[in-house]
Symmetry: none
Subunit: 194 residues, 4 copies
DNA sequence: TATGAATGAGAGTTCATTCAT
DNA sequence: AATGAATGAACTCTCATTCAT
């Protein structure tokens, strides 16, 4: 990577980072492009070399974070482990990603259901989780997990982690290791076969 | 209620209703007051007889819907029933409120975590759910529900219902009675004592 | 004067009084009719029974105060006194009216040169000072006052009193009897014949 | 001065000039920013690159004109002249500035006593007249001018010039050289020692 | 590639005035 | 005569985007 390109990457990343910080604090419409530019140390016009519009910038941010989150989720998956152990590992991967990246979490939650992010972009981002979806479907097939619509199951599991993380990050309610264990066990019980 | 008062109520309600519809579709900042006024069939200035600002209007809408949702949740609670039956009834009450009031659901989810709704307003609205929180704490005490932090449990249960509703309302994935049963059973298993 | 009429007068006067107080403090455009109504304890619409518009209300206020000021100026004129004594008495009359009615003074100064008060209204109000203008013209004819254009002289004398009053009322610079004497003597010297 | 800077200066000056013209004719609140922009040949938003708000624009205009007026007042002061000659020169300097810049005069009078210009700004602008205030205090000390409070004297002298100018500029009463002499002599007599 | 002054449409809000009661 | 809810035009100001440099 030559210096030119590095600078470009740096600048684009700086813009996205500035946008993330400001939007989490003030919301999409409370964050003028001029402020994003200032926080990223670039000129206002420069942002438009990297993004077509404010909306595209947000879309890119969303997609970038979704990918980052997907990578975190799948990190260090060890297929030689027990099914349940792998399940617990996935849970913790995601939970740790959220609690260690609170701004990213808040942003993703803020825009997951907002009309600002187009449906097609949301669907595009499913790809980052496919391995886990397959893992769940396998669990059902193997009789380790109960008979349940796999889309429903995915939603419920994701919702479980989100709820736990939100408790800590939005409601300032510290999740101790003990509480995390309660959450994760509850989660397992909600899908394991009887 | 005399005619005067009816008109006032009608007008305020018309504004809130227009706001709900437009905001769900276009978001808070995608919804100019001029359009709210037009949709509610009032003059732009009229809104400001009922609300100090756009923000206060949104706060009122949020509070109104939270109360409505609280009422739906507690509807027809029959203390003579089994604990589990009452638990299932609560689950269904909330789920039905969401699926039968999709705009209200989307709005509440959109603003639950947004910086637009002040924290104090959110806390004020906890009061509508107190009876259910007590119901859960009782269940734990009686050994029907497992030992779990009650705030965590509340969050997980709420998250479970939200996730199921969202599947249908946001992702257009029809929740059949069969799927609803899967969700509700999963939910019960996630908190019942072993 | 029957009770009905008294009430009317009271209400009109209350409106003018409220307008005076609010406008002096916040200016014409910083004073909405709704606030005038509230301060006067009448409904907004009621003002429009007494005045055609906000502008007419201000015009009436201006004219009313100009007349009041004219009356104060001419109060207790004693034609048996020395010319100089009468001159001093006029000066003091006006000065005392201003310092004892600071709101009225500020209002009159604020609107004396404003485009809000039409020129015709200003000219109409000259009539209240005619006797003093004649008094000055006589003084010139008698050789007590110097040869000077009488309009110029009137302006200079009025300006002298205004400047002294403003020092106290606008710049919070207390005008002691000693200072008042300096001002009045200076004023006399500026027009007396040599 | 390079071209860039010239343009900037031009644009800011154009805005101030447009504001001056319109405000003198229609008052502060009768002058929407949109009209200022149109008259200055800039976009509405452009004004807000140079001024934070309409109020700051007015403050700047006021301060600019006060400085200009101060410079005019002190122009060509020749300390080798007689005290009385210098006094007459100051009077004429100010009078000529007013009559040759009628818009500036009307604006300054309109806002000198208005609640729109903050007291602190008014006090800031005293600095432009300090040399003349010292000149007057010296005159008193030397016995050329009478014993009089110097603040009172300053006010009276300023009031004298203002009154004369207003006669011409507001009341359309032409001040001939003869009348100007009457005014200036009257002014001198009002402060000279006996 | 990068800049940032300039744009102007459109936002939230105010308020003089009206009119049904 | 008196009310005050309702009106809607007009206001100040913001900000995503452009473009000459």
């Amino acid at each position: 990577m030559n210096i030119q390109l590095m600078k470009v990457v740096d600048k684009k990343a700086a813009v996205l980072n500035a946008a993330l910080e400001l939007i989490v604090e003030n919301g999409f419409h409370g964050t003028p492009m001029s402020k994003v530019a200032k926080q990223a140390n670039v000129a206002a016009g420069t942002i438009y070399h990297y993004f077509e519009s404010k909306e595209e910038m947000i879309d890119t941010l969303y997609t970038t974070l979704k990918e980052e989150m997907g990578n975190a989720l799948l990190r260090d998956d060890d297929t030689s482990l027990d099914y349940k152990e792998r399940f617990y590992a996935f849970w913790q991967n995601l939970f740790l990603y959220f609690t260690q990246n609170p701004k990213e979490f808040v942003f993703l939650e803020q825009y997951a259901n907002s009309p600002l992010i187009s449906k097609s972009i949301k669907e595009d981002n499913v790809k980052h989780y496919l391995p886990v979806i397959q893992f769940l479907e396998e669990g059902i097939k193997l009789g380790i997990l109960r008979e349940m619509d796999s889309k429903l199951m995915t939603s419920l599991l994701y919702g479980n982690i989100i709820s736990t993380a939100k408790l800590q990050l939005v409601e300032d309610y510290q999740i101790s290791p003990e509480l995390m264990n309660q959450a994760i066990n509850s989660c397992w019980d909600s899908v394991k076969a009887n």
